[in-house]
């Protein structure tokens, strides 16, 4: 089983979400997702200030195998995009949970409760493996 930290929340589409002390959330893709995709070659983040609906396609990660959309885990406004990850896409492969892609100001803090915890996400990954 791949690495799934218990202090994070997760989506079905393999994003991780970290609640920051100021109420914003950082978003990246999970260890499992980067493992499926392989070596990253390109990252495109949403522009700061963009308003996202929950589940909206908002970023792209491209590996040698495939390009894949990244979805907004909750509705909110983009506060920051991580230029370091765009410059060094391989940082996602090196440490998926350190390589945050963008941060959001959630439109509604309660929406975070709808995300999965580590145990539920682990079961989700397991079920997708057939």
């Amino acid at each position: 089983m791949s690495n799934i930290p218990t202090n994070l929340k997760y989506t079905k589409s393999h994003e991780w979400v970290r609640l920051e002390t100021d109420g914003s959330v950082a978003v990246g893709i999970t260890q499992h997702a980067q493992d499926l995709l392989g070596d990253m070659v390109f990252v495109e983040n949403p522009v700061v200030g963009r308003q996202l609906a929950a589940g909206e396609e908002c970023a792209v990660v491209e590996s040698v195998k495939a390009a894949s959309d990244v979805y907004a885990p909750v509705a909110g406004e983009v506060l920051a995009a991580n230029a370091d990850v765009e410059a060094s896409p391989e940082s996602i492969n090196q440490d998926a949970y350190a390589a945050w892609m963008f941060t959001l100001k959630p439109a509604n803090a309660d929406d975070l409760d709808g995300l999965m915890d580590a145990a539920t996400y682990a079961a989700h990954v397991e079920s997708e493996a057939h």
């Binding site: 070659v41 040698v64 495939a66 493996a129």
Partner: protein, 482 residues
Amino acid sequence: MLIFEHAHPGRRAHAQAPYNAPAADDLPADMLRQTPPLLPETSELDVVRHYTGLSQKNFSIDTQFYPLGSCTMKYNPRACNSLAMLPQFLGRHPLADESTGQGFLVSMYELQEMLKEVTGMAGVSMAPMAGAHGEFAGVAMIRAYHDARGDTARREIIVPDAAHGTNPATATMCGYVVKEIPTDRQGNVDLEALKAAVGPQTAGLMLTNPSTLGVFEKTIVEIQKIVHAAGGLSYYDGANLNAILGRVRPGDMGFDVIHMNLHKTFSTPHGGGGPGAGPVGVSERLIPFLPIPYVINERDFYRWAVEADVPQSIGRMSAFGGNMGVLLRAYVYARMLGGRGMQRVAEFAALNANYLAVELKTAGFELAFPERRASHEFIVTLKKLKDETGISAMDFAKRLLDYGFHAPTTYFPMLVPECLLIEPTETESKETLDAFVQAMIAVKREAESQPDLVKTAPHKLPSRRLDDVKAARELDLVWKAA
């Protein structure tokens, strides 16, 4: 090594220079080039050796089995090429009067009619010059149809997750929003998800049947009912038409638009960047929107349809008649096969795929959809092998090259982990298929006993393992003098 790297100052190939070339001495002085162009200075022999060497390194259908799933890399009969190269075809000027080109035009007209017959569609235009071009034409017609009815609230195109990657791209290019729906465990479109997805916002559904999972959508009639009842149109991606050619017709399945990849199913050359040909076929209600030019028959005089003939057309998609040379090759191919021959294409494509699938399963490979009969291609998943040995589908594919086989498609469709999508096509013999099975078994054994050998493959090709990560991150396409 590039031809520029063979260059030597002052070296020339005079034999190729035009004899008594007329001097263009009437050009204005300010338009004349002051420095010589940067061309490689090489001898004729340098050029011959360089390009002959490159051709010998080429891995192609003319030299090796090429089971690249979803691409239909089948043999291109030489007769198609010879006949399309007749001087009467090659020497035609595209602006020559139609009265002097009736032979060519009737060939194009007959090809249109044959494509209509074999797909069950009511109208065909061969103007699009590639599969993606055809897809664009198809969805543009769906949009033109809704717009002409004032039905402009239809903004969504539904695409199953097993679709070709081009489908969502096409829908987006045509200004639609893509709505993805899942497939079930058997590889079929999830009907409940489809029912939930359709509505007054639905412009249409894009579907490949057989799908990229290599299985036939058993519920295609039900799918059509759901989409049509919601007021949407249905689009057939012809990428896998080879599997059903002359046996099942998209028109009979109820599709409104289809595109055909002539460079797959009708055996015109591809894989080297084209040129391709992506004719579109439509149901009766979409005929007014067909792209021009296409050939019309007026009391046995054949001519190109122009804007005035089809005022509602989505427009002109090629300056002349599409990729005429490619269309001619497809025409010869269709004439050589005939109706019964086309059915045999599908029969043998399916037979070869199923034979290969069963042989590989018997040899211990895991099929992604073991309960389903393969249509013309099938998926092997190497996930178990990867978990046990660390050998990935990519490593496996690279090692197959050492055995003289082009690798199957890897990592597509993305739904299946560590997959190989294998399409043998109808033009391969049983002996070739058996040899491929033996190579697959040999590589699997190596993965288990000498994994390093497989991880560092290929070993016998002119290039070893390429650093595709570096190539993608540091794209370097333009040669510069050192």
